[in-house]
């Protein structure tokens, strides 16, 4: 394997809760000294119960929030020292897919404009070329390019999520952070999006951080997994290993909570 693409070292994030002038500020430690590395092309899962800090880690790496401490090295570069224009240009390397298919697409933009936004921002393409690139991207996520001139509300949740994926892979990023991309979808629609993500990963050298509280989905998609509990990584390793022989009771409790799991155990 090639060297590390992303190194996260002792990452910390503390939020100060809103407080009045006379109160002592209260804080929440969302991420508490998390370290891991990801190699190019690898799919890494982050699991944990609600509030364990999964989204916050994703947002810190995507530079949507600033950490309170720690280091992030991306592609050999000090990722946290980037600022202003330099940061905006570097952002094309790390893209995100969000949880809500309804809120992550601007309702007033046509699909073509949504998918073209990263291309317009970073490249100088002609109108025809832009359309062509968008058509290819939509094709990659299994959507017809005939739909380019429609608005998001004319699509189902799963289709919207695929549009969001098309936007995220438009600039061929090295890392894709998917924060619960299927949690808001019907079970039957989840499969469509999972297949698209698998396909995208197969056809490009894309590393992915896949955030979810649903272990079956992580089990399906990820090679390695990190288990988060109250802001700290309590277990990290190959998915197969962690899920078949968890060392922490916390991990085991996550596994036991899976629906259908108890049934399965009863049958044995």
């Amino acid at each position: 394997m090639n060297g590390a693409l992303l190194e996260v070292d002792n990452l910390k994030k503390t939020f100060v809760l809103p407080h009045s002038l006379f109160e002592k500020p209260r804080t929440v430690t969302a991420v508490n000294g998390v370290s891991f590395t990801i190699t190019a092309g690898e799919t890494f899962g982050l699991v944990g119960e609600s509030g364990s800090g999964k989204s916050t880690i994703g947002r810190l790496i995507a530079r949507l929030a600033d950490p309170s401490g720690g280091r992030i090295t991306f592609g050999g570069q000090d990722w946290l020292s980037l600022k202003g224009k330099g940061l905006r240009q570097a952002r094309r390397q790390v893209q995100m897919v969000f949880q809500s298919p309804y809120a992550s697409l601007d309702p007033r933009w046509r699909v073509i404009d949504i998918v073209a936004e990263p291309l317009r921002t970073h490249l100088d393409l002609g109108k025809d070329e832009l359309r062509e690139r968008c058509a290819t991207l939509l094709d990659r996520v299994g959507l017809s390019s005939n739909l380019m001139d429609r608005y998001p509300h004319q699509f189902s949740g799963g289709q919207k999520q695929r549009i969001a994926i098309a936007r995220a892979i438009a600039l061929e990023p090295a890392l894709l952070i998917a924060d619960e991309p299927v949690s808001a979808l019907d079970v039957s629609i989840q499969a469509q999006v999972l297949e698209v993500l698998r396909e995208v990963r197969r056809t490009s050298n894309l590393a992915m951080i896949f955030i979810s509280h649903d272990l079956s989905v992580v089990d399906y998609l990820c090679e390695r997994v990190g288990v988060l509990c109250q802001g700290s990584l309590v277990e990290i390793g190959p998915t197969r290993e962690i899920f078949s022989t968890p060392k922490q009771a916390y991990t085991q409790s996550l596994i036991d909570a899976l629906p259908g799991r108890r049934r399965f155990q009863q049958q044995i």
Partner: protein, 332 residues
Amino acid sequence: MANPLLTVSNLSVEYPTRHGWLRAVNDVSLELAPGMALGVVGESGSGKSTLGQALMGLTGASQARVGGRITFDGQDITGLTNKAWRRIRGDRIAMVFQDPTSTLNPVLRIGDQIAEVFQWHRPDMPQTEVRRRTLGMLERVGIREAERRLRSYPHELSGGMRQRVVIACALALEPALLIADEPTTALDVTVQAQILDLMRDLIIERGTAMILISHDLDVIGDTCDAVAVMYAGRVVEFGATDDVLAAPQHPYTKGLLASRPRFGHNQAVAPIAGTVPDLRSIGTACAFQPRCAQAVDLCGREGPPLQGFVATDSAKVPHRVACHVVHQEPRS
């Protein structure tokens, strides 16, 4: 069934839209014995919530047109007035919705919200008794330090705790039927498991019948005795949960099962092709036919009836399916 608690016959619910009537529930017939847990599963838009609302007499608000008959506890409740409904709702039939935040009143302490249920339906109950029962209910749904928690406001609780309070409100008067519409969809897997366990324990302990609406067959598998699979407003498969999960018959049920990754099995998931059809454009044909790989000519012409396909012994829940292909094939 000897003495069903709930009988639904040929229920249809139609919403007025600007392009004519939209039939969200189409010719649904069901029977529910006392204490039985029935799961209703289907994709978004298949009419699950509409069915639940019709059973609660809540479709009036959207000017829906309701056809068919609903009999609850021997009484025909199809044409009840709003006033009569208000007496039944919360007392004999209770409901739990997906989003606990919008169910609870944000400016009322949770103790008062539960007490309100007693005060509304049992005006004669003495205050001390109301308080004792409220406390008992909170403890029963697993809220620690119930005494102190009585005074909390909903926003001070986590999503899972709030859903526990909602369940406490719903079960306070020991209703005969609980309708739960995606009660855990907004929660994470760990909390979901706790809430489902709690609901299961409570209904078994009190003999409450339950209709659990979900889009996840696994959730229903863990909780319910029987399952009804809905597609485009119709029940396409019905049977004991064990039968349906072990040997699904309808291509749609099979598709639902295959589209979910199995934990610990690395088999590929297979999404169901296509999308849910426009409910106004379904003619007489089987609504699933455009997405069905096994469809034959007949499927495009007439809709299959919901029929039992093997003789089951009468004690068991019959396994029924609405599919021409299943009924045509002689089963081995």
